[in-house]
Amino acid sequence: MQLSETKYRKLGSIAAGLSALSANLLSANAAHAQDASAPQNTEAHLPGLMDEPAPGAGSVVLDSSVLFYQETGGRVQAIEPVINGEVHLDNGDVISGGLTYDSLTGATPNGAAPSTGRQTFSSIIRQATSTQVTSTSASGNSTVTSIPGTTTANSVYTQPARAIPLASFHDHRVAANLTYNWQADADTHVKLGGAFSVESDYTTFTGTTGISRDFNQKNTTLSLTASVEGDISRPHGGTPTAYENLNTLVTGGNDHKTVINVVGGVTQTLTRFWLTQLNYNYSTSSGYQADPYRLISVVDNSGAPLAYLFESRPRSRQRHSFYWGNKLALGPTVADVGVRYYTDSWGIKGITAEVSEQVPINRYLYVKPLFRYYKQSAANFYEPYLISQSGATTFSGLPAYASSDARLSRFSATTIGGRIGWRLFEDSELYVEGESYRQAGTHTIAGAPGQLAGLDFFSGVHAISVMMGFKIKM
């Protein structure tokens, strides 16, 4: 079907004549004159894919998608299918829920510093039987050898020289969430929801509640959400104590932490084409915050590794996050511009700036390029390694906390990507998004002792993500 649309211009003579004639005809015949204030104009619009209204009462939306995530250099690779649904009831309530499955493989830095020679990481783990078994454990590339006469075994892997040491892994995760959103009255919504996430060594439960209220003819919306999250860390070898040596049997079991999260926000319509939102997010976390597998190297004055200790992190963390976002309808396009300022009690400060623009190509297709920039400072206990002056096997004078986790280091990251959305048929959208995420930071450490000078400590990632999905409204 070839569809051509004529654009509105000044009325020609026939149309103008008809306009006057018609007004005459109708006012003469209506028993009373037409309401003079009624707008005598026409506003008709053939909507395209981007003009779809937000789902309203009586609609059901299903969105199913899959993410393919790949970091370069043999690092993490993930596949994550997700399905989310929303049922909008006639009374204004909304039930929403979703399921996620996640499969991760690959390798991730184990926290140790690189060295000019090969490094061997040997840990002692519990074993069910005492017979000699050599197998590959959850850390994919390690060799497990029983220690005869004990119920323990050595789990050993080596890493090449001059490279960031990596530990391989594979894991599966299943997560689900369900939320009920009540329309308490015309301007008020209350929500209650729960979620859980389970993987082989970690379980999370979350409960959320929130309220939002519209003011000022729905131009202003205030919202408050609070959630409580309980995380149980169940690492494969048990939970190490802070600074425990890799080469000792870990006797700790599971550990846990509790997170309380509060978000308060205001959304304001500024003009017909500009919506703005301000959010403040406060989070407090208490309990086990460390990564149970992550090491930190203790090196001597020449930079040679003396020991690998499990990292040490505080048992509490408070975070503050300020977000300012905008949606702007610029002609037929919609621009999304947001900034976030983050600070926490570990000394990390981060800023984020994101911009994306959704551009219709025709009634069935849009493109949405996006750009994101992120920069953070290091946590105040971030150390790429620890230096022991004494060179002994027991260490005194270690700082209270130390971690070499790249997530706590100083770095910046940029994301460049874009999405294409295609309306296959009415009320549906097929979408594909591709993104390149690249972290940048210092590579060599100034003043690094001995052999560590000039080694590349940078363990940031470059990851490509491809997301594809299908959304349908019924």
Binding site: A54, S197, T204, V228, G350
Partner: protein
């Protein structure tokens, strides 16, 4: 403390702008799905997951809980 005061001031200022906004019949553009604040769907979940596991900062945009032990 200072930050809390500033945030409160901004919120009060915005709340006080009772004349800022549009009339109900002018909401046509704002009613579009493309103009809703949290309309990224599944993709926002993917972004949250990726940035949570690779970066130190979290939160801000929306109130979602439910992290994972991803490293």
């Amino acid at each position: 403390m200072i930050r809390t005061i500033c945030m409160g001031a901004v919120l009060a200022l915005l709340g006080g702008c009772a004349h800022v906004g549009v009339k109900p019949w002018q909401r046509d553009s704002l009613a579009r799905a493309a103009m809703q604040p949290d309309n990224e769907g599944n993709i926002s979940g993917y972004h949250d997951h990726i940035y949570f596991s690779k970066e130190g900062a979290t939160g801000g945009r929306s109130s979602d809980g439910g992290g994972c032990g991803c490293n």
